[in-house]
Symmetry: C2
Subunit: 337 residues, 2 copies
DNA sequence: TGTTCTACGTGTAGCGTTCTACATTTTTGC
DNA sequence: GCAAAAATGTAGAACGCTACACGTAGAACA
C-alpha cells in the first residue's frame, strides 16, 4: 500500500558539524544550548561551521532528551477575529526567544491537548477552555499550562490570564445607563457554559441591580448556531416588551443583532442600542459602528506567553494576571435625546 | 538561571506496554503501525494493555525513525475568517486518520516553514504563500508540500489546490455588467504581489475588455493597512469620475468600501455597487448584504489535505486541483433601474 | 518423509540530540 | 612554587520508538 517515499535531501546533523569544526559532539551541543564551559574560541569555531553547513537542530531529537522549544496554543474556534489579537500578542512575546508557537483549534480541547502533549510541546496555552479545574490540573501535572479566559482559580495548579469579564459586564450596563437606556437585555451563550460567560452575566446582573434596574434583568441565551441566534433575536425584538438596548456577549453576536434589528426596520441606536464584546476590527466599520468592550487580546496573549515560559523555566507556584476592560463607545450605543 | 522543573508524572512507554502484555517491544510496535505479521490474539493482548495503561506513542520518538503523524499548515494571517473555512476542510479530511494538523501564521512563510521542518512535520500545506517556485521546490525537496492559492505551476515539484481566481474575476465583472454597471473599478492589493491577485486582476481585465468596457478598466491598489485603504477609497469615490461599481479583491476590503461609501452618503447599490471575494460569514449580515465570489474554502482545505497525504504515502508526480468559483448575489450589487 | 513456504515473534541497532561523568588544562591563592 | 579550584573539553549512555534481520513452528507440496 504505502510506496517508498522519494529520496529527500538529507539533513545536516550535529555530528557533521562537530567533525567539520574539529570538536566533539558534546561541544557542539553545549554551544547550541549555550551551556557552561565553552571558550570563545570554541564557540566561534562551532558557530562558523553551523553557519557554513546551514545546520538546524532537529526538534524531535531534542525533545527526546530536553525541550522542543515549541509552545502549543489551543483556540476554541478560528472564526472570531479576536483570536488573531491574542495570537499577535503571543508572537510578540516570542520574538527574541528560541520558541515557536504552533496552534490547534478544537471546541473540546481534550483530544487536541493530548495530541500536543504527545508532540512534546514544552507548554500549552488554552484559550477559553471548557474544562473543569480537575481536568486542567490533570493536564498541568503533565505539562506547563496557562489558560486565557478561565475564571475558576480554586486550587489551580496552572497560571491564568483573564480579562475582568465581570467588570466588562458592568461597564457595558453602566455605559448604556449613562446614555439613557433602561430596558437592557443581555444576549448570552446557551452552551457550553463557560466561566467567562458566567462572569459577564454576573457583572450584568450586579450592575443592573445597582442601577436600580433589577426588575429589567433579562438574559436570553442562544447557541453558537447562526440560525438559532437570529430566531431568538427576532423573538426578542418583536416581543411585546422590546428592550431598548442589548448587551451581546461577543461582537459576532452583536453584528447579528444589528443585522436582525435592521431587517426589522429598527434604527440603531434610536430604537435599540447595541453593545458587543472584544472590540474586533469589524466594530469600526461605519455600517456597524459598534460600541464594544475592549479586552486587549494582545496583552492577554503576551502575558500568557510570558507566564508560560517562566513556568517552563521552573516556576511552580501559580500566578493569575488580570486585564482591565474598557468601553470603546461608538454610534451603536450613542445617547438618544 | 533555569531552575529545575517540578516533577511531572512520567509517561507510559512502549516497553511497559510490552512487559504488561508479555510480548516484545517489537510486537507492540508492529501493532502500533499495523505492520505485517501480527496474529489476532497478539493484537488483542497488546490493545488491551495499551488501553489499560492508557498508552500513547510519543511523536518525537516516532519522528526520529519514521513519521510524526503531524501536518503543518501555514496561514498568511488570522484575521480573515475565510481561513477558518479552509481549516474546517482540513479537519474533515483528517477525521478518520491518525494525522493531526498544527497551524502557524506568518506573512513571510520562510522562517515558519523551516521551524515546521525542524519539528518533523510529515508534510506542509502553505496557504497563499508569497514565494517563488524555486523556493517552493526547495521546500518540496525536503518535505511533502501542497500549496493553496499559488498559480505558478511551471516546473512545480509540489501539488497545488486553487480556486480559479481568473474566472472569479471574470464572474464578478460579468455579474456587475448584467446588473447594469459599466464603470467598474477594481480594488486590489499593492504588496506583496501574489499569483492569486494577479489572476483576479487578469480576469477582471479580460472580462472588462470582452464586455466592451476596456476603456473603463481601473485598478487601484492599496496595502493591507486599513488607514491607507480608507484614503484610497475616499479618493476613488470623491474623484470627478466616480465608478458605479467596485470589485474588491477580498471581503474585508469590500466591508471597508461599504463603510467609506456609507460615510460619504452614497447608497449601495444605487450610487455604487460592491462585490467582494471569499463569501465569508459576514457577507450575510444585513448591514453588509455583500455580493461575493465563493471559493469554497472547505473544499480547498479538504483537497489539499487529501493530496498531501497521498504525497506522504509516496506519490511523486504533481497534481493540480482547481475549484470553480461562483457568484453569491446579494443586495450590494442588485440591479438598479 | 523431507523440503520449501508462510506466518508470526523477537533481538537489537540505530535515529539526533542532551547531559552526567570524567579527564585535562589553566588560573588562583598563598 | 605548589596545591586547590576553576575552566574547558570529551566519551558515551540514555531518550522512546521503528525497522531490519532473524528464528521458529506449522502448513503445503512433492
Amino acid at each position: 500500500m504505502t510506496k517508498k517515499a522519494p529520496v529527500r535531501t538529507p539533513r545536516i546533523t550535529i555530528r557533521e558539524v562537530a567533525s567539520d569544526a574539529g570538536v566533539s559532539v558534546a561541544a557542539v551541543s553545549k554551544v547550541l544550548r549555550d551551556a557552561y564551559g565553552v571558550s570563545d574560541a570554541l564557540r566561534a569555531k562551532v558557530q562558523a561551521s553551523m553557519d557554513k553547513l546551514n545546520y538546524r537542530p532537529l526538534a524531535s531529537a531534542r525533545g527526546l532528551r530536553g525541550r522542543t522549544y515549541t509552545l502549543g496554543l489551543v483556540f476554541p474556534d478560528l472564526r472570531n477575529p479576536f483570536f488573531a489579537d491574542i495570537f499577535a500578542g503571543v508572537n510578540s512575546a516570542l520574538e527574541r526567544t528560541r520558541y515557536q508557537a504552533m496552534q490547534g483549534v478544537s471546541v473540546s480541547a481534550s483530544s487536541l491537548v493530548e495530541a500536543m502533549i504527545d508532540r512534546q510541546m514544552d507548554g500549552l496555552v488554552l484559550i477559553g477552555p471548557n474544562e473543569t479545574n480537575e481536568r486542567l490540573n490533570d493536564i498541568a501535572d503533565r505539562t506547563p499550562l496557562v489558560t486565557i479566559g478561565h475564571h475558576d482559580l480554586t486550587d489551580a495548579r496552572f497560571d491564568t490570564v483573564n480579562n475582568d469579564d465581570q467588570l466588562g459586564g458592568r461597564l457595558a450596563v453602566r455605559h448604556l445607563c449613562q446614555n439613557g437606556h433602561k430596558k437592557i437585555a443581555m444576549l448570552s451563550l446557551a452552551a457550553p457554559v463557560s466561566t467567562v460567560i458566567n462572569q459577564r452575566e454576573l457583572g450584568y446582573r450586579l450592575e443592573m441591580t445597582e442601577q436600580g434596574l433589577g426588575s429589567a434583568i433579562n438574559i436570553v441565551r442562544a447557541p453558537q448556531v447562526l440560525r438559532e441566534v437570529q430566531l431568538i433575536l427576532r423573538r426578542l425584538l418583536e416581543g411585546k416588551d422590546r428592550p431598548d438596548a442589548i448587551f451581546c456577549w461577543t461582537d459576532l453576536m452583536a453584528f447579528e443583532a444589528i443585522s436582525v434589528a435592521t431587517e426589522l426596520g429598527l434604527s440603531i441606536p434610536e430604537d435599540i442600542a447595541i453593545v458587543g464584546y472584544d472590540n474586533t476590527i469589524f466594530c469600526e466599520f461605519s455600517q456597524n459602528r459598534l460600541t464594544s468592550i475592549d479586552q486587549s487580546g494582545e496583552v492577554l496573549g503576551l502575558q500568557a506567553t510570558r507566564l508560560l515560559i517562566e513556568r517552563i523555566d521552573g516556576r511552580s507556584h501559580s500566578e493569575h494576571f488580570v486585564v482591565t476592560p474598557r468601553v470603546v463607545a461608538r454610534t451603536s450605543s450613542a445617547k438618544v435625546s
